[in-house]
């Protein structure tokens, strides 16, 4: 089971950190975490993937859903520190064009 941490950075960003496997089981929790940040007025969100060991299509779907949600609220969703498997899946599906990986949470915005 993925553990999803939600924090706020000094610059008013929401930082969501899913640890472990981001799959069908945990994708919904990620979607809800992003949605609840947006609902509370934080539409600039970084998903820190440094602790995410594995992502499947449902996990990608949750990132895309989060991106749409943030953009609809006038913000954006960026991803940071993807692991090798996550980077490979993003590249394979060309989703790195809409979810450009950043080297760190601080550099995301």
């Amino acid at each position: 089971m993925t553990d999803i941490q939600v924090t706020h950075s000094d610059h008013g960003l929401g930082v969501v950190t899913p640890a472990g496997r981001l799959t069908m089981v945990s994708a919904r929790a990620l979607t809800e975490a992003v949605a609840s940040l947006v609902d509370q007025g934080t539409s600039r969100v970084v998903v820190d993937l440094g602790e995410t060991t594995f992502i499947d299509s449902s996990g990608l779907g949750a990132l895309v859903a989060g991106l749409k949600r943030c953009r609809q609220a006038g913000g954006d969703l960026r991803i940071a520190r993807p692991t090798a498997q996550v980077t490979a899946v993003l590249a394979m599906t060309n989703l790195d064009k809409v979810l450009t990986p950043r080297a760190s949470v601080d550099e995301a915005f």
């Binding site: 979607t31 499947d56 779907g61 895309v64 809409v98």
Partner: protein, 414 residues
Amino acid sequence: MHDTPPIAASDVLDVSGDSVDTGPTAATISLAALGLLDEPVQSRFDRYAELARTIWGAPISTVTMIDRDRAYFTSCLGLDLTDMAADATFCSSVVHAAAPVVVPDALEDAAYRALPAVAGEPYIRFYAGHPVRDRWGTVLGTICIYDVRPRTFSEHDAAVLAQLATCVEDELDASSDRDLAERVQQALQPQRVPPVAGYSFAARTVATGLVAGDALDHATWGTGHYLLLADVMGKGTAAAILMASVRTALRARVADLATGSADDLGQVVMSARDLVQHDLEAAGSFVTAFVAWADPVEGRVRYVDAGHGLSVVVHRDGRWTTLRSDDLPLGIDAHAGWTEQTLELAAGETFVCFSDGLLDVLPDAESDPGRAVADLVARSAGPEDVVRRVGDLALAVPTRDDVTVLVVQREAPS
């Protein structure tokens, strides 16, 4: 049609309608649709019969389906029976009454004392049965308990039995939905592809559940061949429903290419996207797809890779080329475009397209899919063998994802 009508049966509506001798009854149609007739006794209902035995400490419990004049014991615990004449059962009176029946002591009850199971082995004295209905309310059968001694059955007992009947009804519904979904999807699998001179071809999906979120499609228009391998986000029934509409949209638009009303495969994918974008967005899903239009005579394949990224050409010398694209999956961006690309398949070359489920089952594929696929092709004796090996691998381990593979080989001149 009953020589000795069961108690109360004469003054209730004959809901099963089986007094009509021509044509199947509503119950028969429903039972057949649920796949409950002419099948071995089904263990999926045993848990409810077992629960009933445990709750009431009864030696015998059955889930019985009545079809016209025959009773089928879908589950039968405590007795070794599969079916018998409906007239000889307590259950038929439940079906005829369309209401629960309790017989505290069959020897004291004129309607039941002559039943074979009362007058002879196993000398039943007590019976309590509750109707089991389909979702339209037709009584299909019963869940019931039997004892060899007289008993009482309280209102509370009756309420518990009614609850168990509801569980059996839910199981009937769920099982038939699952079976039907599986059968429909089997029917949607492409027909066996007719032989194409100079090529051999094989493809297969192994679903992780009963239905797959992966799709394969093939069609021929004129001399051209349409091929599709697509993977929808997620798996199971929800994924299969979305995939069915994407598959249809793509097929319909690719036909435009065949008739000449479209001439670019990228445009074709865009117009298919326009048909499904709303559905995909509403479901929060997306689809990766390899869409191809092949001319076997020229060995030329026009294709669009929509975020699929899992297509490899294995050359005669064992080296391989992974097909690249910059295009997004369908459902991500309402304004995305797709680019038609071209692939020439030379004699002796093998084209392999697969879903990411293969990465889970093929050794070392996660780190280097191209090499793993090239190795697999080198070890195999043609497309059929590649597909058979992938099927064996996918079935050998519990997979997280559907596994689909499509292989086309252009035969080397002999």
